[in-house]
């Protein structure tokens, strides 16, 4: 095409451009036609093709032929158009992006649902659990359930009671310390599965100062350690061990029975 620079591919497309614009359904073809449309050469080609097509249309079709034009029943049904559109790269990319956003949103919602007051402290104490040795604790061999009185009598910690689900377990030792936020934390080491218990003040509402309650047991895990937390009378109890949720679940389900 003189006066217009077309790539080799565009020349190929122009030379085979359909006669009617309605047959142009390809972006590359449309772009090539847009560039070539103003050239005399293309105008001559178009006029030439249209004149021949008009001559072809003038060919009379015998009646017995036009009566037998294949009906739709002879052609298998077309695949729904949406299936074809679904394979378009732009559609696929959008669908993948939406799926990722949806997955992230669902994860965030699930995380939010599982979140509970005092979770941050519980996570910190899981780190403490992973770095504690039994020799760091004062040796006390008793039932865990008996330690509530001990904490109250010796350290004036009210309601630092081990829940009945874990009350029967034998202890090896315990200690009371202040965590980095100055909260009094009781730590207990038990014989079974080298489990550790933590008792710490429940998170409080900044305005009212009341403990923020939550019901039931809540699981959390971090770096191979798993904890299960319950709040009672403004004090949180956490049982922690190196393992998974399934290792702690039997103690909780036992209490439900």
């Amino acid at each position: 095409m003189r006066g217009v620079s077309l790539s080799r591919r565009q020349r190929v497309l122009i030379q085979s451009a359909p006669i009617s614009d309605e047959r142009v359904d390809d972006h590359a073809m449309r772009a090539a036609l847009h560039r070539a449309r103003k050239t005399e050469e293309f105008a001559a080609q178009r006029n030439f093709d249209r004149a021949i097509a008009a001559l072809v249309r003038a060919i009379p079709i015998p009646a017995d032929i036009s009566e037998f034009v294949p009906s739709e029943t002879l052609i298998s049904p077309r695949r729904p158009r949406w299936k074809k559109q679904a394979r378009h790269p732009a559609f696929l990319a959008t669908a993948i992006a939406v799926a990722v956003i949806a997955a992230v949103s669902i994860l965030q919602v699930v995380e939010r649902v599982n979140r509970f007051p005092g979770e941050a402290t519980a996570r910190r104490l899981l780190t403490t659990a992973s770095s504690t040795h039994s020799m760091m604790l004062d040796p006390i061999k008793t039932d865990a359930g008996a330690l509530g009185d001990f904490f109250f009598m010796k350290h004036r910690l009210a309601h630092y009671d081990v829940p009945q689900e874990f009350a029967d377990l034998r202890t090896l030792g315990c200690r009371v310390f202040d965590d980095e936020e100055g909260q009094r934390v009781a730590q207990v080491w038990v014989v079974e599965k080298h489990m550790q218990f933590f008792l710490f003040p429940a998170e409080r509402d900044v305005k009212t100062g009341k403990a923020r309650n939550f019901s039931g047991w809540r699981y959390l895990d971090q770096e191979g350690w798993t904890g299960v937390v319950k709040e009672q009378n403004g004090v949180c109890f956490m049982a922690a061990l190196r393992g998974a949720e399934k290792d702690l679940a039997p103690y909780i389900s036992k209490s439900k029975q």
Partner: protein, 142 residues
Amino acid sequence: MLADARKAAEVFHATLRDAAQEAAKDEPPGDRLWFFRDARWRCLEASEKGLQAEDVGLEEKEISASASSQIEKLAPHQLAIWISAAPEPQRTILALFYLDEFNLKELLSISELKPPELAKLLSEGRQQFQAWLNVTVPAVEI
């Protein structure tokens, strides 16, 4: 494709019969292009029995501005004879292209050609037809 109405009708009916038989077996043709592919091969088969066009390197002329007026002077059967005399696959391409029923993808699918081949055949076909037009319907007569 055949420049013979009787042969063309036979091809048409044979194609339709085949499609009906396939549909009766619960395996109807996949799309409308099947009919054109089938008819094309039947046309090629039918034309094999007659005289064969030779690729003799026809004269080519650039498309003239008066080409459409020259074409208007032609009778449809003259065009049909000219196209049916073209060598394969140019004959198929010209016949399908000037039906103005297909987009490029469909043309390539039926003719089983690559885009540059199809473009070359069409471009040469136009210029050869123009050269023939100049002889048959000279521009000065218009």
